[in-house]
Symmetry: C2
Subunit: 263 residues, 2 copies
Amino acid sequence: MLIIKIGGGASINLAGIVDGLTEVREPCILVHGANALRDSLAEKLRSPKQVITSVSGYDSVFSDATAIDMILMSYAGLRNKRIVELCQQRGINAVGLTGIDGRLVQGARNKGMRVREGGKTLIKRDFSGKPKDVNVTLLRLLLDNGFVPVLTIPICDEQGCAVNSENDDIVTCLHTALQADKIIQFIEAPGLLADPGDELSTFSHLTRGDVETQEQQASGRMKRKLLAMKRLLDAGRASIVIADGRGESPLRDALQGAGTQIE
Amino acid sequence: MLIIKIGGGASINLAGIVDGLTEVREPCILVHGANALRDSLAEKLRSPKQVITSVSGYDSVFSDATAIDMILMSYAGLRNKRIVELCQQRGINAVGLTGIDGRLVQGARNKGMRVREGGKTLIKRDFSGKPKDVNVTLLRLLLDNGFVPVLTIPICDEQGCAVNSENDDIVTCLHTALQADKIIQFIEAPGLLADPGDELSTFSHLTRGDVETQEQQASGRMKRKLLAMKRLLDAGRASIVIADGRGESPLRDALQGAGTQIE
């Protein structure tokens, strides 16, 4: 089984990725983002991201009900269905789903964050959470009948609420449940970079040890990405590729060895 | 089997309808609109409906790619997933799908309309079409495994494109394929009205003959609705109810005889 994660950057070549999918013969699941689309929609609707700062000084996006509406429109609506359409136009029978459809991705809602407001310490709880489990029955039902699931956020919390989550964690959950042979992640770079400012510094191969070393040296978003990679490596044996989603044939190139290959 | 069609008006009580669904024991499919939501989003995004006039003087909404984007955000994204969420919160394992997911509703794209522009007669073709067939395999797969499909536009044309369509026609297609026992349509009125301006003029019972008579006398949107009802009656034997979606318990009331019952 192949799991393909498609980043939500504006310059990802979705049609090019789906072109490559027509040549894949094994069962496949797509997981996609849409952050550029969400940000652009939120700006047009004058509904910017809310960031709150915890008492311990940690910044975090606060997903209120309106933020979930934005996710539903951009991820679950526009991006998900346009990817399904790209598949259908190429004879791939895709089915687009979020984590709340059939409780496909079930999670635990975050407990909230301690913040200082008006001289008081409050717990502020948003609609976000961590995926814990996937509905393998529904996924198998689709895969065994020749459908290609196309998944995205939100996921489903304990009460059936739609909550925001990280697609990286969803991929790890899928891999834990289904043990993929190969996982390809498309990003807006040629692969993992030794120097974030230099695309020529792409690692061609990394071991688990290399990922750990890099993670210790990295900071910010890259550190989070590398931590997610460690968790993915822990979830089961698979060949993992981080590849450029911007080229003409991103999937074909990734299957032929482009990007950063992690064993 | 029960098919429930939920109109896209702003005052439909979605939670109230889903409350009633928890008491339904037979397999069920929901089909919903979102026109009020779409119109409000389109206004905020300054992307109003385009209307074109054919050479024969017939006005028609022109669904360009942007109009399909609006449908994907409002129908397939926000409204569909919030209905799925209402279901999940009540223990109903809903799966939200559009017609392009798994080619669930396949149709024929409209050929285009002859219009006069700049002194010339042109054919203008948009992304709209008529549903012709449903993917019974996928629907049965979901229904037989205890899922409640929640369906909406767009549908899938011959080339795999997402196209706009009428939910009334989708319901007729579903009924043709699955032969429902009961079909309930929720609208923003107590039922079919003899006088569109007077809610006290609700028909409590109508026969097929009555529907034909009313259709001959009606005009505009009501005539189209009654024509759709005639086609639905032709698609197979079922008990059909047109009921108020605005009350506290719309589904419970409709199952207990409220609205217009058509045999």
